[in-house]
């Protein structure tokens, strides 16, 4: 049995050294991890999810463009198959999870005849990959998106592209998994994975030890470290940073309807930064692309964001009249040249990898399904449970309520709701991710303190002990 001495934390003193067995331990609380946990939770198998951060959606699942794509990779690739399988399901999935989704379409725009010719090749590939696609001329493209630049001479129109509340999707998916019996552990950093003689693995975390028959490594930027702990195949992960601008939804009264992407980006074979009309109404510009050494480096810089600004204002000139309300960055997971990775480890037979570089949301339903099939094929005897729930119970928010965040119209009741449930928020950032409070044009100037007060009230702690995000981020400092 495990003999790890825990770091003495308030949580560690109250947990027993060993926990009940799990059929499947999922490591990582991003979109892939929660999607896999949800899929397994609807079978007879027991599943536990372990997230190192204080909250779910801590990495690329927090910082992305919120796009559910219909075409990404050439036909015949795994990415293409994941995207094509997942794409038609979004209305159904989001309806059941009460997550906002809009199939808005996208225009991959060309500024020269040469670029248009190149798009013909993309058209062929997109169709063969199973996506609906058409080539349109500049006038037709502008009819689809009136804010498009006059300089655009042609575009690849992908009508099935969608925008999605990608952070909300993570929490709703985790909530449903938990309702189906999955145990979601946060602040549970995996610090050891020890193979046992009976073929199971001891999953040693900062929250305790679990015995698991199967381990799914969906740790995002941490997949290399998790595999190392388990003694699995070495995986070299490159953190690939994406930086974004968020523009206010009030934009001289004009609304944008379609995702717009330059056909030619900064590097060979790349697309440029997108202009995305998000489901919350704000406009998102990005991402930029650069590889960083440090996975924790999510800082933004002037040089790359200026490029994104220039490139986006070339496709949508009115961008320059938008009000920038936020810049942010997140790191996605680059492993070799492929985007999607889903496989059984060559060295550790009960270890499985799920990773995605750029389109985790767009692939997540299909990857979760395939992961379950892979686990079943590897000895997980877990038929679907007919009594498993496939939807979140309806939530009726009382409209007789105070508005706390005026910019985004978030009521006190919505904030209270985010502090409850199976995967409750416990910090300011947690409330922000679940409700979008503090994400509007004043960025919380007016409501930050009220959110803190409501967290303190809910957790029955003092105001200064309210956490902004994780450990060590109390809003009040200790007095000496």
């Amino acid at each position: 049995m495990c003999t790890i001495k825990f770091l003495v934390t308030p949580q560690a003193t109250s947990i027993r050294p060993s926990h009940a067995d799990l059929d499947v331990a999922v490591i990582g609380g991003g979109i892939l991890g929660v999607s896999i946990a949800l899929r397994v939770s609807t079978t007879t198998a027991s599943v536990g999810l372990f997230e190192a951060d204080a909250d779910l959606a801590a990495g690329a699942s927090k910082g992305n463009a919120g796009v559910a794509t219909s075409y990404f990779a050439p036909p015949g690739t795994r990415e293409a198959s994941y995207v094509t399988t997942s794409s038609p399901r979004w209305e159904d999935i989001c309806g059941r999870l009460a997550v906002a989704f809009r199939r808005c379409g996208a225009l991959v725009v060309a500024f020269t005849g040469e670029e248009v010719e190149a798009l013909r090749g993309d058209l062929e590939l997109a169709r063969r990959a199973g996506a609906r696609a058409e080539l349109v001329d500049g006038a037709r493209a502008r009819a689809l998106e009136p804010l498009l630049s006059d300089r655009v001479v042609g575009a690849l129109h992908l009508p099935d592209e969608g925008v999605i509340d990608s952070i909300g999707l993570v929490f709703a998916t985790a909530e449903l998994a938990a309702l189906n019996g999955a145990k979601i552990h946060r602040d549970a950093c995996v610090i050891g994975l020890e193979a046992q003689a009976d073929g199971t693995t001891s999953v040693v975390t900062t929250r305790g030890v679990w015995r698991a028959r199967f381990v799914v490594n969906a740790a995002g930027l941490g997949v290399g470290e998790v595999n190392r702990l388990a003694g699995g195949e070495p995986i070299h992960v490159t953190p690939r940073r994406g930086q974004y601008w968020v523009l206010d939804r009030a934009w001289e009264g004009r609304a944008m309807s379609t995702i717009v992407v330059p056909a030619v980006g900064p590097g060979p074979g790349t697309r440029g930064p997108q202009v995305v009309p998000t489901i919350s109404g704000s406009i998102l510009l990005g991402p930029t692309v650069d590889d960083v050494d440090d996975p924790g480096d999510t800082s933004t810089d002037e040089q790359r964001l200026s490029y994104a600004w220039e490139a986006c204002s070339a496709t949508i000139p009115d961008v320059v009249r938008g009000v920038r309300i936020k810049a942010f960055a997140a790191n996605r997971v680059a492993i070799g040249d492929e985007s999607a990775h889903l496989r059984r480890d060559a060295l550790v037979p009960n270890l499985f990898l799920a990773a995605n570089r750029a389109i985790g949301v767009s692939c997540s339903p299909a990857m979760a399904e395939e992961m379950l099939e892979l686990l079943r094929g590897s000895g997980l005897d877990a038929p679907d449970r007919p009594d498993a729930s496939d939807r979140l119970p309806g939530r009726a928010l009382d409209d007789r309520d105070d508005v706390v965040c005026t910019c985004q119209g978030v009521t006190a009741g919505a904030i209270e709701e985010s502090l409850g449930g199976e995967v409750a928020a416990s910090s300011v950032a947690g409330v922000r991710k679940r409700t979008r409070a503090m994400t509007g044009r004043c960025q919380g100037a007016d409501c930050f303190d009220e959110v803190c007060r409501r967290i303190a009230g809910h957790l029955e702690c003092s105001l200064e002990d309210v956490l902004f995000a994780g450990v060590g981020t109390e809003i009040g400092m200790r007095r000496e």
């Binding site: 800082s299 007789r400 508005v403 100037a445 809003i475």
Partner: protein, 256 residues
């Protein structure tokens, strides 16, 4: 139908209401349970407190509050919600986004509740809010470091620190320097507060904005600006006698 809905029950909003009241029917909607500023009860003014105007449809305001969501038809909407500080993006500050960055008025209310935001607090901006923050920080025994282009020409441009704020980088021409700090309070109060969808940018139908005052403008100047907005409305919007009576009947707390 009311003639005018005024968003904000501070000095500016109440000045607009008082000016309009003799000739026009007015509803003042205030977010907080309290009104700010001198107030003389007038028969023609209805006041909704603890209520928030979330949207203007051009002919009606959508108001959310403890009494539910209401649609209040009106001919004009006056935005008198004052100013807020510039966000990091508006200041052009990039870098990391750690704990320890708070903006007024939230920061001021937390300080007034005794929360120690930091021991070395960089306060961005000048003016009433920034002064109040500095006073609170100093009273707590912490160091307040006033920064900002309007303070000494050094413009904040980058935040450093992963978990908590560690420093704020400043730039002036080609020179750069770093202020070590464990908290940053944004307090320049330069941006108009625009919270009502449909009435955010100029040009919304039937919308008038009380202009954003100059930094450090006295309240009297704000009230004067508000009165001018009211007079523009009086000049362009004929009064509607018919509508006054139902509103009086409905409100019940002020009688002619």
């Amino acid at each position: 139908v009311s003639d005018v809905i005024v968003v904000g029950g501070g000095p500016a909003g109440l000045a607009v209401a008082a000016e309009l009241a003799p000739t026009h029917s007015v509803i003042v909607v205030e977010r907080s349970p309290e009104l700010g500023g001198a107030w003389a009860t007038d028969a023609n003014v209805r006041i909704l407190q603890s209520a928030t105007v979330v949207r203007w449809d051009g002919d009606a305001a959508i108001v959310v509050g403890r009494n539910g969501t209401q649609r209040l038809p009106a001919r004009r909407l006056v935005i008198a919600t004052g100013v807020r500080p510039s966000t990091l993006a508006e200041l052009g500050v990039l870098g990391t986004r750690p704990a320890g960055i708070v903006a007024t008025p939230s920061a001021l209310r937390l300080l007034e509740s005794g929360v120690l935001l930091g021991r070395r607090v960089a306060v961005v901006g000048t003016g009433w809010s920034a002064d109040a923050v500095v006073d609170c920080v100093v009273a707590q025994g912490s160091l307040a470091i006033e920064v900002g282009e309007d303070v000494d020409g050094w413009r904040p441009f980058v935040v450093a620190g992963r978990t908590r704020v560690e420093s704020l980088g400043l730039v002036r021409g080609h020179r750069r320097r770093e202020v070590r700090c464990d908290a940053i309070v944004l307090a320049d109060d330069r941006q108009p507060r625009r919270n009502v969808d449909g009435a955010v940018s100029a040009g919304g139908h039937g919308v008038a904005f009380v202009p954003t005052p100059e930094a450090n403008a006295p309240t009297a100047a704000v009230i004067e600006a508000a009165r001018r907005v009211a007079h523009d409305i009086i000049d362009t919007l004929p009064r509607s006698d018919d509508d006054v009576r139902p509103i009086l009947a409905e409100k019940g707390h002020a009688h002619p």
